[in-house]
Assembly symmetry: C2
Homo-oligomer: 347 residues x 2
């Protein structure tokens, strides 16, 4: 492969001169410029974005850091981000942190050395916000609150938690379990839904138990094991709230064990990835606006890369309830008091 050095040697100039020709920045004598262009042509050298970008301090690459690309929520999100970035001429570098601090540190080191123009950060982090600020390049938090100076794009998880609670209450549940509420875990905007869910159901006299989410997604069995444990430890459960895969595993367990859904137990999923569309009975789901989250993330990061100021500190996008047949709520009974949520969070 022809390098900038080959061109420089062929043209009898320094590599920096070739770069100046490529970038159009800095003075190059007309005869030298023509000699360099001839060498570029003769050697079939592709005017290299790296060479150009090096001298502009730009790579044309945006890094997307997420916990686990194979998780349906993140694969649908990163796919949408990639399309958005590609349409604006950027390329997408993907980084899986697997909920591991060590992986996260490794990527931060790589990203320090490898110039990326910006970072969309959607992993769970336990690192200090300063570490991201030290990168000295645009960062946005996708469903992650990193620092006051770093814009956040997230779904309205407060509304999501409330809507899930209200749907189970409307369906007559008295004894619900949710997956994901953990006292000492990393607090992300998404964890708000669990606090709100508990507050709303308990305010309605419904018992609420909780299981922590597992750290990693790859081992499918753990979802099935979590479902089995739930039904064994809570034989009287009549309502379940969990992300798509927890909800799917609970539905599978129930149907395999003669527990009727929705007659004996109601289930409501959270996220709305493809798996919720292929189940039977079809799953009632709080859907995150994945496409819109991706679009806003792309818009913010590319604005920051262009050096523009972002005035919005937070962009919170609405979620919606897609009612299937795993709950028995009905549209007529839906609450219209949406402004009570803020009050709930204040309590």
């Amino acid at each position: 492969m022809t390098t900038i050095q080959d061109v420089a040697k062929h043209a009898g100039v320094g590599a920096a001169t070739v770069s100046r020709v490529l970038s159009g920045n800095g003075y190059v004598k007309q005869t030298t410029r023509e000699r360099v262009m001839r060498s570029i042509e003769e050697l079939n050298y592709t005017p290299n974005e790296m060479a150009r970008n090096l001298f502009h301090g730009k790579s044309g690459i945006v890094a997307v850091i997420i916990p686990e690309l194979s998780h349906p929520f993140f694969s649908e999100m990163v796919s949408a981000i990639e399309v958005g970035l590609c349409n604006l001429g950027y390329q997408t570098m993907v980084c899986n942190t697997f909920y591991e601090k060590n992986y996260e540190l490794r990527y931060l080191e790589m990203l320090k050395r490898q110039r990326v123009d910006g970072i969309i950060f959607g992993a769970h982090t336990s690192l200090a916000a300063e570490m991201y600020q030290e990168l000295q390049r645009p960062v946005i938090g996708l469903d992650r609150r990193l620092a006051d100076t770093i814009p956040l794009v997230a779904a309205d998880h407060v509304a999501g938690g409330r809507m899930a609670a209200e749907e189970l209450i409307r369906s007559g549940c008295r004894n619900v379990v949710q997956f994901g509420e953990v006292e000492d875990s990393v607090i992300t905007p998404a964890s708000q839904r669990h606090f709100v869910f508990r507050k709303v159901v308990e305010a309605n006299g419904v018992t609420c138990s909780a299981y922590p989410k597992q750290p990693s997604y790859s081992a499918y069995n753990t979802y099935q094991e979590a479902a089995a444990r739930l039904f064994s430890e809570h034989p009287d459960v009549d309502g379940i709230f969990g992300t798509d895969l927890y909800a799917a595993a609970c539905l599978q367990y129930a149907l395999c064990h003669g527990i009727r859904v929705p007659e004996d137990v109601k289930i409501i999923a959270y996220d709305g990835t493809h798996i919720t569309r292929f189940l039977n009975p079809d799953m009632t789901t709080i859907c995150q606006p994945i496409q819109e989250l991706a679009d806003e993330s792309v818009r913010l990061i590319t604005e920051l890369i262009k050096g523009n100021t972002i005035h919005e500190k937070e962009i919170i996008l609405p979620v919606r309830l897609r009612r299937g047949n795993t709950t028995t709520g009905n549209a007529a009974a839906e609450s219209t008091e949406t402004d009570s949520t803020a009050a709930l969070l204040q309590q």
Copy 2:
């Protein structure tokens, strides 16, 4: 952000000198070297992989080109590839082609300009192999036969098609339908399974009908529509073979319409992504070795990047049957004649 030019200006040298200091290649006077190092330190300049790589003709980036990252098969694959590449110090750039020639062309243009060290190509392509060879950098085909000179990593789809056919035959099917067999579509190694499937079932006196696969995955409804059309046009179908999402949609349709699985209709899925683990009854599946396909792709591309010769033109990895409750075959009846497959393909 500090650029190499800032360092050069601060040190009173050319950018090429800074790059020589960074890369350790080429002569730089000791006093100049020290002056550059001081400037790097004072300006808190991160020794930039781009700068170093530019002069080595390397970026440390591998591009992975696939049809659609949000499809479970590709998201699980790319996730595993990313982990493998990261462990070897490479970063992963992801490119969705959406089965569109225009997207593919756009990426090829981008990749010409943006120096990536190698390409793992797993998209459906209708471009000439020469276009990939013109990139003049290492390429491997992941489940795609691009050219004789480009190594291929693929699952043993011939065995996969045969195993699916034999399982439906063992389950007593007389009238089967498969999704994905298209006369004039792009021929990939994966399409072999459809030819083999038809040959094996027809050799056993079983009727075989076929539906084409839809081009894109994002619109979930089309799977459900395909399932509805199948049952409407083939009311006597008693065996179905399709990728995970087709199989899941058919299972869902059958259960919603009082068609018993496996009593009335048997279903066997192909791929083995996470969705097949969350269904009820649990889905009989031909599982592709996703982790091994990723591992071999990473091994081959990084060997080629290092300039090593690959002696294997093709790496074909075994698939396996995971028997669930959507078929009624049993292990005792399984054929052990695996070498008849080659003969079948010759016919």
